[in-house]
């Protein structure tokens, strides 16, 4: 155990239990936030305002303000939904699967990744409701004993989505919160203001760090990790059913579940890198989130990217091998049709550019990594555009073929959802320790020498 830990956490030079708490907890307890934080949240709130404006207009007038039309019934809203849900995958993967696989380097990034997951799921969850023709009736998709005696139509993948996404959201929230409890107690103890002490105190739920507490905590956390692990696979599998269950060429495909899961992890790691790199710089957290962390995440990005690339290859191969008129056309329409530029750019973003990560130098260059992860995020969004739009716009009967063009309101909601995500993220880093204090402390060399003092406050 000691070997790999100290290898990863090598640069934690000179830190002891107190300094870890000072550095991480200090970010939250500092009176003044850095100027970059203020500027960042201002931009995010501005975009969020746009989101609210777009949503209000949407609710007042109807989904007709978007570019959706007769052959292309789904547009940006569903693309954004799938994209955000995909991004939301990294958190649970890092927290749960890496915990079970005993990858200790996760401790520096799991808190951030989990928060990112929650916020991404929140962003994602807005879209399926907003994209409805009558959004105020969204709860009809939820099984509840209504006076009409009607249940949802359980064969519809949209109903499965409701279960998959809400389960994922709830489990992720619990997992994140349980992981926060010891740190909340630490913050409670350090906070000077009465309000902050009260707030942290309530949230810490009476944590005193007793051995009994720790025992319960460890068990609960492990159980939750076990519970969350299948969700990493299930959510995007179910989301892929929205497409795979249909008859539309380009959607009707058995490869979709694994292909979607890989894509989700791919974009999730992209987003984690995207957040971690600037935050590390802003709060000078290089001691905790080291280049080795980035290197490990870059490797995962590359690996999941290769699976995604395999998915693209198999999709094309199966269409050709199956030889069905419509399937072959759906594929050639991606290569050569009116939306071909989106297909080729997604290949560049998701397949070509990540190959740079084979180089150790690139993996260790934070800004290169940041650029690559941005490109991957754009590529994954394009992938969903290609899946949703190019499959629908030319399906079976040439007479009903059409084109899709987003309107400015489509863009307002896409950019606005970034604002929502950003605002939540900025609020999070200001109010809660973004790195797990107690887990970092537990991985200090001192923790292994003086086990008895672990967690003692």
């Amino acid at each position: 155990m000691k070997g790999p830990e100290s290898e990863v956490l090598g640069p934690l030079r000179g830190h002891d239990f107190a300094s870890v708490e000072d550095r991480i907890g200090g970010i939250v307890l500092a009176r003044k936030a850095p100027r970059a934080w203020t500027a960042g949240i201002a931009v995010a709130l501005l975009l969020l305002l746009g989101f609210l404006y777009g949503t209000t207009y949407l609710l007042a007038v109807g989904v007709g303000i978007w570019g959706v039309n007769a052959p292309v019934g789904w547009g940006f809203a569903i693309i954004n939904f799938v994209w955000w849900i995909g991004i939301g995958h990294a958190g649970t993967l890092i927290s749960a699967i890496l915990l079970l696989l005993r990858q200790p380097w996760r401790t520096s990034i799991n808190r951030l990744a989990e928060a990112m997951t929650l916020f991404a799921v929140a962003c994602a969850a807005t879209f399926p409701a907003l994209h409805l023709g009558r959004p105020w009736l969204f709860y009809w998709l939820v099984p509840y004993p209504d006076t009409m005696g009607l249940w949802p139509q359980f064969r519809s993948p949209l109903v499965w989505d409701i279960f998959a996404v809400s389960t994922y959201g709830i489990v992720s929230l619990l997992f994140w919160f349980v992981g926060l409890v010891p740190d909340l107690a630490a913050m409670r103890d350090r906070a000077r203001g009465r309000a902050a002490r009260m707030a942290f105190g309530v949230l810490a739920m009476g944590w005193r760090g007793s051995a009994e507490h720790w025992r319960s905590y460890e068990t609960a956390y492990l159980l939750l990790a076990g519970l969350a692990t299948p969700l990493v696979v299930s959510v995007h599998t179910v989301v892929s059913f929205d497409f795979a269950v249909s008859v539309i060429p380009g959607w009707h495909s058995t490869i979709f579940p694994p292909y979607f899961v890989a894509g989700a992890i791919f974009s999730g790691f992209g987003m984690v890198l995207c957040l971690v790199i600037p935050l590390r710089r802003l709060y000078r957290l290089e001691d905790f989130i080291t280049d080795k962390h980035l290197d490990a995440m870059a490797k995962l990005l590359l690996a999941s990217g290769l699976i995604v690339a395999y998915g693209y290859g198999m999709e094309a191969f199966m269409a050709w091998y199956g030889g069905g008129t419509y399937e072959v056309y759906a594929q050639t329409n991606r290569f050569r049709g009116p939306y071909a530029p989106t297909y080729w750019s997604l290949l560049v973003c998701n397949v070509l550019v990540p190959q740079l990560l084979w180089s150790r130098r690139v993996r260790r260059a934070a800004w290169a990594l940041f650029a690559i992860s941005l490109i991957v995020l754009a590529g994954m969004w394009l992938e969903r555009f290609v899946i949703v739009v190019t499959s629908l716009h030319r399906d079976f009967l040439p007479s009903s073929w059409g084109m899709y063009a987003p309107t400015r309101w489509d863009w307002v909601l896409l950019v606005g959802s970034l604002g929502l995500f950003g605002a939540l993220m900025f609020v999070f880093v200001r109010l809660l320790p973004m790195i797990s204090i107690f887990e970092v402390r537990a991985s200090l060399p001192q923790a292994h020498v003086e086990r008895g003092r672990e967690g003692g406050q």
């Binding site: 019934g73 998709l141 040439p398 007479s399 059409g402």
Partner: protein, 935 residues
């Protein structure tokens, strides 16, 4: 509430009740406050909820088409064909369907105006009295009408002309029969009218004659043609050759379609005539093609037919008459009668005389009845300038249009559904037009306006019409009975024009038409003018149903385009939507081009009637006006025009962009020979997969099993079904922007595919799949399967995920992206079908197989204690179809027509390989080409 509440109690109760009030206002739909009044005396024969049908007639270009109008509690709500009427036989065209909306159009003029100020009818009567007084004293009064077939109106006019010494009657009709009439005069030396009996013809040659397009007899022609296109009776299949200068629905039905420049049609006519052994003066180039047609016609002499269209010059009409004479057609496939028109037979000549007289200062008063010559008169006559020179100008029409704008007086016209009148069909059969509702906007009929000029200015339209017909029907008790009978039947028996046997003039020279024989200008293009398939001559421009109707073949809505061939577009370097400028004789028009397969090269087709300046909120400024290029010497085609690109672009609101089948086979077609060799070729091309294994037994459909077949052999693509469906099912109009965004709402669309020279039309309603992909994916059970096989929509359960529309392989589902029905004028609520839910925003909708009609028939059958019988349920599209291509019924009833057509070997399901098992199936299109002609 307790007796003496303390403050606490009071606040508690107030709080609770306000919260409840808030809930009530927020959560429930508020009902508007309305007073409802019962009938103080129940109208006769009216049962609330039960529709009543009245027979009447609607005119197009002056000729009557008989209709049955459905009235609901006094409101006309739908129009069907009159089965007894010779021009209808139970079907209608799209125009007749859309007249319903024209009736309610809130942009119709609503008041009498003088110099744009509001006046009363009595003021107009006063003005009319002084006009009459002056006319009696010898002042020039001119009356300009459209084509008039109305016997009562003609009688009124003749009486007036006899009374007033210097009164004269002119007529102007932009889509008239001038060439037809002049051709008949040229051939026979007298005015006779030719009627085609297509049901008797074995071989038909159409020379630019849009037999099934928009015309007085098009519905009848289509029906007659369809009766001879039953591939199951291969011996009776007729053969249709069409030589046309722009693709039409008639050309789409042809076994051999020749796409020619307008001037080239005469060449082929002369060549065929020579092949028939007719001596034609002047050159007649030989062509193996023409010889083959001639041989085919000759083989079927006595049962051959040459039909020449109005766009061709009189010389070609004379050739046509000569060919029919040589083939022995008169009496069988061609019937000659007295002319049916009462107005001057050559409107161009008539209008020219009027303009000449105005310019000579000889016209003191001009009364314009219905016509809109400022829009539609030939450009070289400059009617607007002439009109301004008339001292007193009176206009009577449905709208304040371009002509009304320049007139002193404007009198709002009553719609045909709200006034008395009469009209004759193409064959002369008279119909009495009866009102279904009192004038909504205080309009007056033409009879009343003419009466105002007569000795009895207060005579009502009813008195004029009823007196005329009672006298005509012999007077007395018997006449009253016959009058009532005529009203009931929708036609006056025995009024068809009497048959004639005219003789060809012995000195008939059959010389080529002067204009046509002129060599084609080098580098110039030929222009073709045609009535718009939806707006006709522009009179329907204010009608949103027709504006939004995808035109046959081009699928263009909301506007028109310069239709060009691919080769022409490539030469000019333009694509769909690129604006070109067309110049001819000093006049210029800018228009976006539309590439249409089958268009002859270097020929530009314009549909008239768009680009109107004054056509209400709906029609003003939509499309471009082609009339400025149309001159009196080139009404239908013109040579020597110049075209250049401008670089501008205008988006074309088309509902179908791809006219090719892309290697798929939605339409399956063959020839008679191929069909006889392999009757089941269509279904074999795409077999259904075997039923999927299922744990539950498949549903048996032991009751009714509703199904529809559509015979592609006879569908002309006329699109009357599209408007009929819109009227029946309260389908909203969405406007040009929404059509451009791909959101047209028509529940039924007509797809067009071009395959070589062949054009196929395919109406696509909901397929009502037994294994419907839409039902599986709906999360709220808003689309479910009925026990009789209907794929039902539950509007109030729909939340609008649009998953069903995505998963529909036929893309027949339509979504209310906005609150389209709420955007319609309030008065349109009157014309809505009360049996059909009006859909709100955010709800999916689609073809229901007219479930309301099924339910009505079921209720009737239950009252009678029996099953619904075949023919008791007709869908709106089926009822309107001129060719009876659409058949609906119970597939479980072996005697039902639909069961029989489903049993045809031609029957195939669209996208059968998906295993959806559609209830709507198609009968393959079978052509009957001449084996001697390759292509």
């Amino acid at each position: 509430m307790p007796e003496n509440p303390d403050r606490r109690e009071f606040l508690r109760l107030m709080g609770a009740s306000m919260a409840l009030a808030g809930l009530g206002a927020g959560a429930c739909t508020r009902q508007p406050t309305e007073k409802i009044l019962p009938y103080s005396s129940q109208p006769e024969e009216l049962t609330p909820g039960e529709p009543l049908l009245y027979a009447t007639a609607l005119t197009l270009g002056g000729f009557a088409r008989g209709v049955l109008v459905e009235s609901r509690e006094g409101r006309p709500t739908r129009i069907d064909g009159n089965p007894l009427h010779p021009a209808s036989l139970g079907a209608t065209d799209a125009f007749a369907q859309a007249e319903l909306l024209a009736l309610y159009d809130p942009d119709r003029s609503q008041v009498v105006t003088y110099l744009a100020e509001i006046r009363g009818w009595s003021d107009f009567l006063g003005a009319a009295r002084s006009v009459r007084a002056r006319a009696k004293a010898g002042a020039d009064l001119r009356i300009l009408t459209e084509t008039v077939t109305s016997p009562a109106l003609a009688a009124q006019l003749e009486e007036l002309l006899a009374e007033l010494p210097r009164a004269r009657w002119h007529a102007w009709e932009p889509v008239s029969r001038a060439n037809v009439n002049n051709g008949a005069r040229l051939a026979f030396g007298e005015l006779v009218q030719a009627h085609y009996r297509i049901d008797r013809a074995d071989v038909i040659l159409s020379l630019d004659d849009d037999l099934f397009g928009c015309g007085a007899a098009s519905v009848r022609h289509a029906r007659d043609f369809a009766s001879r296109r039953v591939p199951e009776q291969p011996g009776r299949m007729c053969r249709l050759y069409v030589a046309e200068s722009t693709p039409t629905t008639t050309g789409a039905m042809a076994d051999h379609r020749f796409s020619l420049a307008p001037t080239e049609v005469e060449d082929i006519a002369r060549a065929v005539a020579r092949g028939l052994g007719i001596e034609v003066a002047g050159p007649a180039p030989r062509s193996p093609l023409a010889d083959a047609i001639a041989r085919d016609l000759w083989r079927h002499r006595g049962r051959g037919l040459v039909a020449v269209g109005e766009p061709q010059p009189p010389a070609v009409h004379a050739l046509g008459h000569a060919m029919n004479d040589a083939l022995g057609s008169p009496g069988t496939t061609v019937v000659y009668t007295d002319p049916v028109e009462a107005s001057p037979p050559d409107p161009v000549q008539s209008l020219r005389e009027l303009v000449r007289d105005i310019e000579a200062g000889r016209v003191q008063t001009l009364l314009i009845l219905g016509s809109n010559p400022v829009l539609s008169a030939p450009a070289d006559l400059d009617f607007a300038a002439a009109l301004r020179a008339v001292p007193l100008r009176i206009h009577h029409g449905l709208q304040v249009d371009e002509t009304a704008e320049l007139c002193h007086w404007h009198v709002p016209a009553a719609h045909a559904l709200e006034s008395w009148g009469d009209a004759r069909a193409f064959d002369g059969t008279s119909s009495i037009v009866q009102p279904l509702i009192a004038p909504l906007y205080g309009g007056r009929s033409q009879h009343e306006v003419l009466a105002a000029l007569s000795a009895h200015p207060e005579r009502s339209g009813y008195e004029v019409v009823a007196d005329y017909w009672r006298a005509k029907l012999g007077g007395g008790e018997n006449a009253e009975r016959r009058f009532r009978r005529a009203l009931h039947d929708g036609l006056v028996e025995g009024t068809a024009a009497s048959a004639r046997t005219p003789r060809l003039r012995p000195d008939l020279s059959l010389a080529p038409d002067r204009a046509a024989s002129a060599p084609r200008a080098e580098g110039g293009i030929e222009l073709v003018f045609r009535p718009d398939p939806a707006l006709f001559d522009g009179r329907f421009a204010a009608n949103p149903w027709l504006q939004e109707l995808p035109r046959p073949l081009t699928k263009l809505t909301w506007g028109n385009a310069a239709i060009v061939a691919q080769a022409t577009a490539a030469r000019l370097g333009v694509e769909d939507g690129d604006v070109v400028e067309i110049a001819r004789a000093g006049r210029r028009v800018r228009a976006p081009v539309l590439l249409l397969p089958g268009q002859p090269p270097d020929v530009v087709t314009f549909h008239l009637g768009s680009g109107r300046r004054r056509a209400g909120r709906v029609g003003s400024g939509v499309g471009f006006d082609a009339y400025p290029l149309r001159t009196s010497d080139a009404l239908w085609s013109a040579t020597g025009a110049r075209i250049r690109r401008t670089g501008a672009r205008v988006p074309l609101a088309r509902t179908q962009e791809h006219l090719t089948m892309e290697g798929r086979q939605p339409v399956r077609s063959g020839t008679v020979a191929g069909y006889l060799a392999r009757p089941g070729f269509a279904a074999e091309a795409e077999p259904s997969p075997p039923p999927a294994h299922s744990l539950s037994a498949p549903f048996a459909y032991s009751g009714h099993a509703w199904a529809m077949t559509i015979d592609l052999s006879v569908c002309t693509g006329c699109s009357a079904c599209v408007v009929a469906c819109q009227a029946e099912n309260n389908v909203p109009v969405v406007g040009k922007e929404q059509v451009l965004a791909g959101r047209a709402m028509h529940w039924l669309r007509v797809d067009t595919y071009v395959e070589g020279t062949a054009i196929h039309d395919q109406p696509i309603p909901c397929m009502h799949c037994e294994q419907a992909p839409c039902e599986l994916v709906c999360p709220t059970e808003a689309t479910v399967h009925g026990a009789e096989g209907l794929n039902d929509m539950v509007y109030n359960r729909c939340v609008g995920t649009r998953f069903c529309a995505n998963n529909c392989p036929y893309k027949v589902r339509r979504f209310n992206f906005f609150h389209y029905s709420g955007a319609e004028p309030e008065i349109f609520a009157l014309r809505r079908n009360p049996d059909v839910t009006v859909r709100t925003r955010g709800v999916m909708e689609k073809c229901t197989y007219c479930v309301q009609r099924i339910d009505r028939a079921r209720i009737q059958a239950q009252i009678l204690g029996r099953r619904v019988r075949d023919g008791e349920v007709t869908t709106a599209c089926e009822a309107v179809c001129p060719t009876r291509a659409i058949v609906f019924g119970d597939a479980n009833d072996p005697e039902a027509r639909v069961a029989r057509s489903r049993a045809s070997p031609r029957n195939y399901a669209l996208l059968a390989s998906l295993g959806t098992r559609p209830r709507t199936t198609y009968l393959a299109s079978i052509a009957n080409p001449n084996p001697e002609i390759e292509s």
